[in-house]
Symmetry: C2
Subunit: 256 residues, 2 copies
Amino acid sequence: MEVYTIVPSSLAEARDFLVRELERRSWIVFFALCRALYEGRGASESTVGDRVVIIKPDGSLIIHSPKGFKPLNWQPETSSIAVSLEGGLLVLRALRRSPREILVLECSSVYSISCGVSPEEGQFWMYMSEHEIRDAIVSNPSMIEDGLTIIEVERPVEPGFIDLYGRDSKGNIVVMEIKRVKAGEEAVRQLLTYVNAFKVRGVVVRGILVAPALTESALKLLMVSGLEYKIIDLKKLYQQLQAKRVKRTTLKDYIL
Amino acid sequence: MEVYTIVPSSLAEARDFLVRELERRSWIVFFALCRALYEGRGASESTVGDRVVIIKPDGSLIIHSPKGFKPLNWQPETSSIAVSLEGGLLVLRALRRSPREILVLECSSVYSISCGVSPEEGQFWMYMSEHEIRDAIVSNPSMIEDGLTIIEVERPVEPGFIDLYGRDSKGNIVVMEIKRVKAGEEAVRQLLTYVNAFKVRGVVVRGILVAPALTESALKLLMVSGLEYKIIDLKKLYQQLQAKRVKRTTLKDYIL
DNA sequence: CGTGCCAGGTGCCAT
DNA sequence: ATGGCACTTGGCACG
């Protein structure tokens, strides 16, 4: 990728540069003293300050303040970005239909603008998603309980989907809700909703919350509701999965 | 803010520049051909590709691919960022304790690095948060129902907090759950949990879901559960609030 | 398209 | 720190 940077001597120069590079669908990053106004699903306004603004080839606009992971303002995949000079300010208007949103960026100074055109795009993988945990249980149900068999994955039920639906060694129907992270009350409520859906129809089922951990209040709610839980070891599951995968560079080399 | 940009002729030059600017706690943005490895709460790995990397003065590290709002990888407020040259690659290791996480960035080319030091920091406001909706109802409960009085805000109850707790004209206790956006089933389940908490103690209360809209399935679940709802007009609430605020630049000028 | 639901969710504030 | 919850949540998969 070729990256080109200018230090604009005037806002007019900055505008011309931005207009040209937006047309070319370049990747644009600039430092500026500016303020942002947003109105759409919500409404917000930031005070004037030094920001880093990213405009991606797909039209996403992201405004970062000096702190934290989250951007101050943003607009995902805008339908149009207009640039203009108004009253001594460089104004960018990023519009988006559906939902109808507008983000206005007023720059009083633009310190530097960089842009580049990149041809290809990279891929990204996530490991140990809830999906993978589910599959691991399906291929080895005994990790939950001896004699358990899985009948259905993502079984549709009145108000949603049951992650795993099976039968235990004594023939009881078992409903399982999986959480990849420590489960809170919401997870218990969800499981309870599914179990109740059966109860209404006169069928008594066991409900098991499967998670690496439970919050204290979740455990309490679970006990009161007559539900069960099963703690799973994510690290172990992850390693089992790793073993099955093709050999690849691991992070162990770095951690030392 | 002063912004300085270099186009490094070697990875060693890039490393030296990064080390110096990290020490100065500058704001750093660079374009690079790289790949990221993460291990911590989850684990991920991205293929090699052109990326924009931001390192903020507070140590946050964000890696953006050419698409979408969300970064490909990140590390919020790292406790340390180490830079080194290893096997012909420029390697950045961003470490974080609690939770223990490591992000490794391997750059095969660095196209351009910009950095700047900004002295001050801006503030940010959000309008029409759930908090503000709640306050609006408190100051004018009749927008929900004639004769309603609010007794308590954020009333603690067995498994959480009731947004609004009040009494209707006939003396019945009313429990309200507020949603700023279209309410889904989860909102209904939450309200139901609160109402049931009273039912267990033998007290019958009315449960009202307050939201700008309801999903169809939420409405169904709400009806079945014997709960009520009240649609509120966010735009109207927002305008009422705006009227009370000090005069300021609005977005109407821009929308035309 | 809307609806549901996971996410390395993040951020804010409470205990 | 842990927990509870809103968020312009974003993102994906599915009807």
